[in-house]
Amino acid sequence: MILDLERFQRQARPRWRDLESLLAALESRPDRRLNPAEAEQLQELYAQTAADLNRVTHGALAHELRQYLERLVARVYAELYFAPPVRSEIWKPRRWLRIFTAFPETFRRHARYFALAVLVTLLGCAFGGLAVRYDPASVDVLLPADYLRNPGQRVHEEEQGQGRHLDSAQTEAAFSAQLIRHNIQVALLAAALGVTFGIGTALLLFENGVLLGAVAVHYTRQGFGLFMTAWLLPHGVFEIPSILIAGQAGFYLARLLLRRREDRNVRQSMREWLVLVAGLAIMLVWAGLMEAFFSQHHAPVLPYGFKVAVAAAELVLLTIYLLMIGRRETGTGARSTVPPEYR
């Protein structure tokens, strides 16, 4: 019980003020480090102020004073119990370049979610493909855009170069930016939809699969199989896997949320999710560039065989990258107990 609230405040006010100014210094420069004397002072002032708060909470009906002390203690607590990354650590290029090895490592560690994404997409492909195969009229429902429905006309236009109004690197650059942006948005949505316990992710992947299957069967049946392969694969070999990886990230997130709260290693999991998203974003940049600058050139300019060969080479390189680069996991288990080696 504090009977003499005024004397209490008079005595304690200087240390609250000291603590406030120390706090202000810390908060204004998040990368600031304390020297040992300051750290000791901070700890001591914090302990005293926390004790003051306890006395006020239990011993006096001083509402504003309590609120003030609570806020002060809360903010010092946040500074005291948190070690922000050091600035030099953040700006080390090597740390950032690690994404290129961390991405395949993370991909392999959670390969089973990737398998699930592939499965869902294949189901969609089968559905779309079979529907078009046995009920050609369903094309009108399954393929949204007009241009996908008339392969003959489209191929003719493409080969004549009529599809593009401005045949220049300028248009292609602008086109690539839109593609990159759109694809990353869709992929990010697939990864974020994991929050719907994976249902949204699955629906998105399935729909994507239906579209793929329908287009493939539709074009092949009309005899444009080679054109389509050469048209879609040079960027598709990056675009499709990256959407699948987005699905992997989504399912991974869903699995995390389905775990009991105590069993989650949230910090590590968030990092893995981010690594997957960052990796697929980089893949999509490449896919966007390929789609705009390479895929849109057709037979007279670029022979289809060459385009398919390029696509095959890309696929091989991507596979090698995803499967071989980075640290090998010990054993074949998909699950890793290896602690994060940075931080």
């Binding site: 009977l3 926390a50 809360a74 903010r75 607590y77 946040a78 948190f82 990354p85 981010l274």
Partner: protein
């Protein structure tokens, strides 16, 4: 201060944190409205920046508008996500909008948020912004006890109100210069000795809430308290008490109980 303000303060969502030292403190959580305002402001800032950058780029690439467009599109996209993530990650969980509206993003445990949390909660915006105008995120905030949108739930973060620190002002009854009760040090001493802590708190609280009480209630409460003190604890002479209002009686009593003016000092 009115009654409605009090009720709102009492029902506002809070997060209670227990520290290892056994200290309990509460963090006031931010509601959807202030967060929306902060977000609108941030959006305006981002759009302004992007357009500024866009003009510059357009001018630089005036010979190659296609590449200019490419740079602008990608920069706009990247800035849109990176603005919030980087500012929150490196600037105490605050964007410019959040700082102006006294908001701060924190970890669920009352600690500053880490950079990966900032990225996750901001990348999740693609979901929270669905289907339009942050409907999903808004519903999530309203249905969550910690007022978290989905991005916050995944990243384990929450948005708190962080108003500037202001130590409370001194109690008004301590400012009075002359206390007529001091003329009777013996009775004042008795008042100080015989008052229980509960009674002292009651008097203090009644005075402190002076402006929150309805006039009628205040009169009644002050009268009861003053009558009780006068009859049971410290019978000051009638000729003094008759000249004092009940409120002044309590103020005098409070400054003897809590304040600087103690009977013992005057007895030197």
């Amino acid at each position: 201060m009115t009654d409605t303000q009090l009720t709102r303060a009492a029902t506002a969502a809070e997060l209670t944190i227990a520290t290892p030292e056994g200290v309990l403190f509460r963090l006031p959580l931010a509601g959807p409205a202030s967060r929306l305002y902060a977000m609108l402001l941030d959006t305006a800032i981002v759009l302004g920046t992007v357009n500024g950058v866009g003009l510059l780029v357009y001018w630089t690439f005036s010979k190659a508008p296609g590449f200019g467009f490419m740079v602008i599109t990608l920069a706009e996209f990247a800035i849109g996500f990176a603005y919030s993530a980087l500012l929150e990650g490196f600037w105490n969980g605050q964007t410019i909008g959040k700082r102006l509206f006294h908001l701060r993003v924190m970890d669920q445990d009352g600690l500053p948020l880490r950079i990966e949390q900032a990225w996750v909660r901001n990348l999740m915006r693609v979901f929270d912004a669905l289907p339009f105008a942050y409907l999903v995120g808004g519903l999530s905030v309203l249905s969550s006890p910690l007022m978290q949108r989905f991005g916050d739930r995944v990243a384990g973060t929450l948005v708190v109100r962080q108003t500037p620190l202001a130590a409370p002002a001194e109690e008004f009854w301590m400012r009075q210069k002359y206390n007529s009760f001091m003329d009777y040090p013996a009775i004042a001493m008795k008042l100080r000795r015989a008052t229980t802590p509960e009674l002292a708190t009651l008097i203090q609280d009644a005075l402190r809430r002076r402006n929150e009480l309805a006039a009628y209630a205040r009169r009644e409460i002050y009268r009861e308290l003053a009558t009780y003190l006068q009859s049971e604890i410290s019978p000051f002479p009638d000729e003094l008490v008759e000249r004092l209002s009940d409120e002044q009686y309590l103020i005098n009593a409070a400054s003897i109980l809590f304040g600087d003016q103690r009977p013992s000092r005057d007895q030197r």
